[in-house]
């Protein structure tokens, strides 16, 4: 029931964004274990590898070369072994159409990439806190939607 460390994966092709995310998450008081991937293909290979320890929460950049965030999302939601994963879309796009499409395809969280570091920290912390409640408190995961 109670978890030790929250295991998190991030797929983002932008090295600066990966760096900032990692810095931000280090400064949050929730204990985490973060793995980074440079595109969707790498992430999916990891998630579907045999005997893998799955993360509880995955952050997906929407625009990535090779395999984009939406493709990853669809593959994750189409794979019953990955059904417990919470998926957070992490994107610069504010288009309502994009947002709704990702939710309909099974995303739990949609984050507009914040433009300053403190805001980024706040946003990640809120997401982690909420996801923690979903891991530990029998809330209905089918209805887990958050937009920030």
């Amino acid at each position: 029931m109670l978890l030790d460390k929250l295991k998190i994966a991030l797929a983002d092709d932008d090295a600066d964004d990966r760096f900032l995310f990692e810095e931000a998450i280090k400064e949050i008081h929730i204990k985490t274990n973060l793995s980074l991937y440079v595109n969707g293909k790498e992430l999916m290979e990891h998630l579907t590898a045999p005997n893998v320890v799955l993360p509880q929460l995955v952050f997906l950049d929407l625009n990535m070369p090779v395999k984009n965030g939406l493709q990853c999302l669809k593959e994750i939601r189409g794979n019953s072994a990955l059904k417990e994963l919470s998926v957070a879309i992490y994107s610069t796009s504010c288009s309502e159409k994009d947002i709704e499409e990702t939710f309909v395809n099974g995303a739990n969280i949609y984050i507009n990439k914040p433009n300053n570091f403190n805001k980024l920290k706040e946003v990640i912390e809120r997401v982690l806190q909420l996801n923690w409640q979903y891991q530990t408190s029998y809330l209905n995961k089918d209805n887990f939607l958050l937009r920030i």
Partner: protein, 185 residues
């Protein structure tokens, strides 16, 4: 064909416990939310077996006293929101300290120590979770839901929903509806 179902979690949990405990010839008594008194002596082996059997159903025996109290706070909140009609007359703090017989300040600090949130925020989260279920499964109007969940007005419910999820109730409803209509790929 699709059917939609709703669950009475407390009833399901009790039923599972009852079947498993009886199955292992263990005599017991329910002592309230999440508390079960075992009347026979349990050998360590039998205790471990029980732990494993219940684990298969997502039922965890809590060894740690703190975890157990936090779990009981959560269960009491669930009961307050879902089933106890009379709870509407009390403040959350009064209700919890009454039911659990522990001063609220003590419950509150224990809770925030181990859950990364506060009791107040957890209550909101749980209420909104219930509101979501009511919106998608029962087609209740927001006015009906606001009344059922003891909000002073629809505007208050709507604002809290938006604050908690980032979405308006109607956007939320539209997304879930589209998800359900989406053909499986």
């Amino acid at each position: 064909m699709k059917i939609y179902v709703t669950f009475d979690y407390i009833k399901i949990s009790k039923k599972i416990l009852d079947e498993q405990l009886r199955g292992m010839n263990i005599e017991y008594k329910f002592k309230g939310f999440g508390e079960v008194e075992i009347l026979n002596d349990l050998s360590q082996k039998k205790y471990n077996d029980l732990k494993e059997t219940l684990g298969n159903y997502g039922v965890t025996i809590v060894d740690d006293d703190k975890d157990e109290q936090v779990q009981r706070i959560k269960d009491t909140i669930t009961h307050m929101i879902y089933t106890d009609e009379e709870a509407k007359m009390y403040k959350v703090s009064t209700y919890l300290s009454d039911k659990m017989d522990v001063p609220y300040t003590q419950l509150a600090s224990l809770f925030s120590e181990s859950t990364y949130t506060s009791i107040e925020n957890f209550v909101i989260l749980k209420k909104i979770d219930y509101a979501k279920n009511l919106i998608v499964n029962h087609n209740l109007t927001l006015t009906e839901i606001a009344y059922k969940l003891n909000y002073s007005s629809v505007a208050h419910l709507s604002a809290q929903f938006k604050k908690t999820t980032g979405l308006t109730p109607s956007t939320f409803q539209r997304i879930i509806k589209k998800r359900r209509e989406k053909p499986n790929e």
